[in-house]
Structure formats: structure tokens, C-alpha cells
């Protein structure tokens, strides 16, 4: 993937005599790539462009607005309550990530580096949850947070912060990812740390974590997108807009507000901005993280 090792195919063809086919092939590849890229990026262009139009302009389907209506963003942010939804999502995402980090680092370490009875059975149970469709767990979970199965502090968690965070502060995927990495930390490091009198917790914090930035970053990125993009569960768990996160807010705006395309698109852009910022900043880690998870499977 790196520059140094890249492109076996082209290294080979560089040495071969470049036939006319080579150039025809190149042109074809560029044409396909550019054409495809235009199709792929068009919805984003359209979203941004429409978000700056007047309502009239969105109906006549111009490609770009005559005068960019920046006021649309103000309207969406204030009147359409996207500010509230946005802040809800920020808080829910931060809470989920904090919990997720703690649970998956601890469990990943235990599964990767500590021997205890029943370890493989528990790990197997965890992994099994990755195959279960949400349709199966959704209904009991809904009853649970409504306080109908277990007694919960405060009767019902509907429309609370807890309903949106607590079920997601641990998942098998993150634990699996970290376990794979932690298990590869050389045993010599652990032996040395133990001679210095460190226990597992200190070893984990002082030695393992500093060298595990890449997998932790992957867990954070997956956790972030998962939490920010969450839709089905928050749709059930929020009936009022007290804790309604941005995706449910956007969806109910479609249902309730009627054809206010310009504001809708402004809301869509607002909902996309955090994801875009994170994605552009961490592009390398993001794609690499996804690639490694793919190959492990």
C-alpha cells in the first residue's frame, strides 16, 4: 500500500515495451475513475448546493443558487431545532465513546493477556452477538428501557440520556479488535514490568496503551460513526425531542416540516459536518483501520 512497495503490476509493465494498448488502457482507467467519482460525489454537491438555495430555486432544480442563502443554515440551526439535536448527538456520542473505551480496553486486555477460567466461552458468547440481527434484540431492549422487564432507576429510560448511551458502551467488535492487538504485545515487556512490581492495570496503562494508539483510534472512529449515525434505536427510545439525536431530528423534519427542501438540505449538511471533519482529519487511520478489520475476518 505504501509508495515504496506499490504497484507490482505497473512495475512489470514499465519494463515491458509500452504498446499503444498501454496508453489506451490508461485513458480508459482515468475516464472510468473520473466518471465514477463524479457520480459518487454528485449527491454531496447537490446537498450543499440546495442548502444554499431559496425555496423557489429548489423547486425549479437549478444546479447552483444565484445568491447563496447562508441564512438557511441560521434558520435550520435555530428554528428547526437542529442546534438542540446536534448538541444531543454530541453529548450522546461523547458519553458512548468514553464508556466504550473503558470497557473494551479492559476486556480486550483480559481476553488477550490474562488467563482465567471460562475465558474462551465468554469470548465466544461476545462474538456471537455480532451475528444477531437488531430485529431480535430490539423489542426486549425497548421493553427493558421502558422499565417493563427490569426495575430501572427512575422507572423508565425513555427520553433519557441513559437509553441512548448505556446499551452501546460495550460491543464485541471493539473488544475483538483490541484483543488481537494486545495479544501481540511481547511477553518480555510484561515480565520486565512485573519485576518492577507493576500489576496488570499499571502495565496496561503505562506500557500497553501508549503503544496501542492505532487500534484505539480505530475503535474510536468506529464508535464515533456508529453513535453519530445511529437511527433505529434512538427513533424508538425518544418520543419527545428532549434527547432526540440529530439523525432522528433530520428524519422527523422530513416527516413533519413538509417540502422545505432548502432547510432540509441545510440540516443534512449540519448532520454531516462532524463526520466529514473527523474523516478528513483521520483519513489514513480510518481506511487502514477498516482494511485491517476486513482482513482479520
Amino acid at each position: 500500500m505504501d509508495k515504496a512497495t506499490s504497484n507490482p503490476v505497473s512495475t512489470v509493465s514499465n519494463r515491458a515495451k509500452r504498446s499503444p494498448f498501454y496508453y489506451v488502457g490508461k485513458v480508459l482507467i482515468y475516464a472510468t475513475l473520473i466518471g465514477g467519482a463524479l457520480i459518487f460525489i454528485f449527491p454531496f454537491f447537490w446537498m450543499i448546493s440546495s442548502s444554499l438555495m431559496t425555496l423557489g430555486e429548489t423547486l425549479t432544480r437549478q444546479l447552483v443558487p444565484k445568491v447563496p442563502q447562508w441564512v438557511n443554515y441560521m434558520d435550520a440551526w435555530n428554528q428547526a431545532k437542529f442546534s438542540k439535536y446536534f448538541m444531543n448527538s454530541v453529548l450522546v456520542t461523547l458519553g458512548t465513546l468514553a464508556g466504550l473505551l473503558i470497557t473494551s480496553i479492559l476486556a480486550g486486555y483480559a481476553f488477550g493477556r490474562i488467563d482465567f477460567k471460562g475465558k474462551n466461552i465468554i469470548f465466544g458468547l461476545f462474538l456471537a452477538t455480532m451475528m444477531i440481527p437488531e430485529s431480535v434484540t430490539l423489542i426486549p431492549n425497548y421493553l427493558m428501557i421502558s422499565g417493563k422487564i427490569l426495575p430501572l432507576p427512575g422507572q423508565s429510560w425513555l427520553n433519557t440520556y441513559w437509553a441512548l448511551t448505556v446499551p452501546f458502551i460495550a460491543n464485541a467488535f471493539s473488544i475483538f479488535l483490541l484483543r488481537q492487538f494486545f495479544a501481540q504485545v511481547p511477553n518480555e515487556l510484561w515480565d520486565a514490568a512485573r519485576i518492577d512490581g507493576a500489576d496488570h492495570l499499571r502495565f496496561l496503562i503505562q506500557v500497553v496503551l501508549p503503544i496501542s494508539k492505532a487500534p484505539i483510534m480505530t475503535v474510536l472512529l468506529f464508535g464515533f460513526t456508529g453513535s453519530w449515525n445511529a437511527f433505529q434505536w434512538p427513533l424508538l427510545a425518544t418520543t419527545k425531542d428532549t434527547w432526540r439525536p440529530i439523525m432522528v431530528g433530520l428524519w422527523s423534519f422530513v416527516q413533519e416540516a413538509g417540502p422545505q427542501t432548502h432547510l432540509l438540505m441545510a440540516g443534512a449538511v449540519i448532520s454531516l459536518v462532524p463526520i466529514l471533519v473527523i474523516y478528513f482529519l483521520t483519513q489514513k487511520q480510518f481506511t487502514q483501520g477498516i482494511a485491517t478489520t476486513g482482513l482479520k475476518g
Binding site: A110, I114, F116, I122, I139, A172, L201, N229, L250, T261
Partner: protein, 388 residues
């Protein structure tokens, strides 16, 4: 490992060693505990509870115990169910026989092939009979939702895998700006489904001025109703098929396009990583032997990528059978039930119709279907995968 290094330290006596071991155990449990509690309560317990609920006449609150009645609503009767399963089992067995045929010597090969064909036909007939009876006496809307889920899977997963592979192969060449291309193609995957669905709603709206209809206009095709169109695409094209052969509605095809747009980038990133793992010596050796590029792609790249292809197909199928957001957000009442996949139907039965017992039974059946599909794919495709 740890035990070996422990015993290598001479000072330890038996008692302190076992003490240390106990401490190790306790630390292990304590570390796993927080994750265990959450996954147990919100991931494992609900599976059992779902099954429990499916045995009751459970609307908003728990009603009478009705045993398998919710399941019988789906299948009609156990006989129907068993006939259908037997048919599927025979079909799988025939594939297995067919595969086996190529491993054995010439004489048996012919017999095994003929046998496989017979078993396949018999299995097919039994399956169709069982399914037909289920469809008559069981829950048509759920059974239909399974077919729609299958359409959705067959219409998206192969396209995503093939396009992803081609894209990865192109991006792997000596290309200027490959990082930019990769970023653009990957962008839809990270975009929240509600956000992109909102845009697709407008691009594929039924207005004559919608982008999709304008593009059709360039080719002289009259405007379509896209995600509002419950009629099958093939019928719109003039082929008058009916039943399963009529294929997905234009509304579902629209959602498929959306699904493909969302996931191609993901597949190509995984394929790119797979391509990076193929040693370049292989290509050099092939070139010395005078292989053309097409031959190299066919005989080196494709076999060496087969584990990746297998993985992507597998998670693709599991993903489409679980899919909810992508379909739910583009669903309009005008498309009727032609886009209602199993998970959307289950959600509807629960959320709108308050049929908790029925919905949980359907969810359990969906889970079984996914499980069966995964096992079958492992069996059938897994054997053909070439692990370098």
C-alpha cells in the same frame, strides 16, 4: 505463556504460586466485568427473552401462553415448514455432491453428476411445494418480505463486490491522485444513512424535473416514479413476467442503487488491502513466462483475492439481511409492500401494529435464515476459496 514464565522464577513456592494464579483469575474477571454486564443485559439476554415473548400472545402487554401459534402464523403448519427445510437441505446436498464429483475418478464422476442433478431437481420440487403451501396458509406479508430481502441481497451484494474489485484494481495501478479517488469513493460509506437518504429522496423524486428523470430524458426515456413505483422494473421495460420472476419493483431498484452507492467504496478499500498482500514476485514470474495482463488478473489476482471476495460476499449477505436504515428511510407508502424487507416488516409489526409476539417470532425466524445462509455459504463457497 504466563505460567511458563512464572515457574521459571525460583523464589516462588507452591502456595504463593496458586495465590498469584487466583489473583490473575480475579483480575481477569474484574477486567471483563463491565463489558460483560452490558453485553449480557443488552446483547445476550434479549435473544432469550425474544424467544420467550414469541411464545405468548403479546401485544403491548403480555397475554396468554400460546406456544408455537405465532410461528404457525408464519408457516401455516409444521409440515409445510419441514417440507420446505427438507427441500433446501436436498438442494444443498446436491451442490455438495456436484463438488465432490470433480474430486473422484472418471467412472464415479459421471454417476455423481447425474445423481447431483436428480437430487437438485427433487430438492427444488420439494422446496417449491413446501414454500407454496406456506404461502397459502401462512403469513404472506412476512414470506413476501423474505423474498424482497433476497432480491435486495442479490441485487446489491454481487454488484458491490464486482464493482469494488474493479475499482480497487484500477486504483492499484500507477494513477495520479489515487488518494483523492479513494477518498471520494469511500465517502458514501461514512455518510450517515439518514443524511444521504434525504438527498436521494430528492434526486429520485417523482417530479419530472428531478435529477434522475432529467438524466433519463437525455436518453429519451420518459420520466419515472422511482421510489414511488411499486411495479416491477421488468414490467416497466415491457417484459410481462409475474410472481417471483417479475423481480424487484422500481422502488426497490432505486434503494438498491442507493445501497450500491453506499458500499462500493468499502469493498474497494478491503480489496485494495488484499491486493497489497499479493507478492509482486508472483507477477514478475508470470511476466517472464509471457503472461498477458488479462491472464495475470484471471490466474493470479482473482484466486489470490478469493478469501477477500468470500469475506465480502458473506458479510454483504448478512448485512443486507439485517439491513434496516437504508430501506426504511427511502420507503414511501406509495411503493406499498414492494420494498418492505423482513427487518422493516418486523419493525413495523412492533412499532406501528404493536404485535410484539408476532414480531419477535418473525425476528427469530429471520435470525435462523441468516444463520442458515451463513453456514451454507461457508460450506459451498468456503471450499472454493484459495488461501495462499
Amino acid at each position: 505463556m504466563t505460567e511458563a514464565s512464572l515457574s521459571s522464577q525460583p523464589i516462588k513456592t507452591g502456595t504463593t504460586l496458586s495465590k498469584l494464579k487466583t489473583r490473575e483469575q480475579v483480575t481477569g474477571y474484574l477486567f471483563v466485568l463491565p463489558a460483560f454486564v452490558i453485553i449480557l443485559v443488552f446483547g445476550l439476554f434479549p435473544i432469550g427473552y425474544s424467544f420467550y415473548m414469541s411464545l405468548f400472545n403479546w401485544r403491548v402487554t403480555k397475554g396468554a401462553f400460546i406456544g408455537d401459534a405465532n410461528y404457525m402464523l408464519i408457516f401455516g403448519s409444521w409440515t409445510n415448514f419441514l417440507i420446505t427445510v427438507a427441500g433446501i437441505a436436498l438442494i444443498i446436498a446436491s451442490f455438495w455432491l456436484w463438488n465432490d464429483a470433480f474430486k473422484s475418478v472418471s467412472q464415479r464422476q459421471q454417476i455423481a453428476k447425474i445423481l447431483a442433478a436428480i437430487v437438485f431437481i427433487v430438492g427444488g420440487v420439494i422446496f417449491v411445494t413446501g414454500w407454496g403451501q406456506m404461502f397459502e396458509t401462512g403469513n404472506q406479508s412476512f414470506l413476501k418480505s423474505l423474498i424482497i430481502t433476497l432480491y435486495y441481497a442479490l441485487g446489491t451484494v454481487p454488484a458491490e463486490v464486482i464493482l469494488g474489485m474493479i475499482l480497487a484494481f484500477m486504483l492499484y495501478q500507477d494513477i495520479i491522485g489515487k488518494d483523492v479517488f479513494r477518498m471520494i469513493y469511500f465517502l458514501p460509506y461514512v455518510t450517515p444513512s439518514v443524511t444521504s437518504a434525504v438527498v436521494f429522496q430528492i434526486i429520485f423524486s417523482l417530479r419530472e424535473t428531478s435529477i434522475a428523470n432529467v438524466v433519463l430524458g437525455w436518453f429519451g426515456i420518459s420520466p419515472q416514479k422511482w421510489r414511488f413505483e411499486p411495479r416491477p422494473l421488468l414490467n416497466l421495460l415491457g417484459l410481462n413476467l409475474s410472481g417471483f420472476l417479475a423481480g424487484p419493483s422500481l422502488a426497490l431498484v432505486t434503494i438498491m442503487l442507493y445501497g450500491i452507492w453506499s458500499f462500493v467504496g468499502y469493498n474497494s478499500v478491503i480489496f485494495l488491502a488484499g491486493l497489497g498482500n499479493i507478492p509482486k514476485e508472483t507477477y514478475e514470474a508470470a511476466e517472464i513466462d509471457g503472461a498477458t495482463k488479462v491472464q495475470m488478473f484471471r490466474h493470479i489476482t482473482m484466486p489470490l483475492l478469493s478469501p477477500t471476495t468470500f469475506y465480502l460476499t458473506l458479510i454483504g449477505f448478512i448485512g443486507t439481511f439485517k439491513a434496516f436504515n437504508h430501506i426504511f428511510v427511502l420507503w414511501t407508502p406509495s411503493a406499498r409492500d414492494t420494498v418492505v424487507t423482513a427487518s422493516v416488516l418486523i419493525f413495523d409489526n412492533f412499532y406501528k401494529a404493536n404485535q410484539y409476539g408476532v414480531a419477535t417470532a418473525q425476528a427469530i425466524v429471520l435470525f435462523m435464515v441468516i444463520l442458515g445462509l451463513t453456514l451454507a455459504q461457508n460450506k459451498l463457497m468456503g471450499e472454493r476459496v484459495f488461501y495462499g
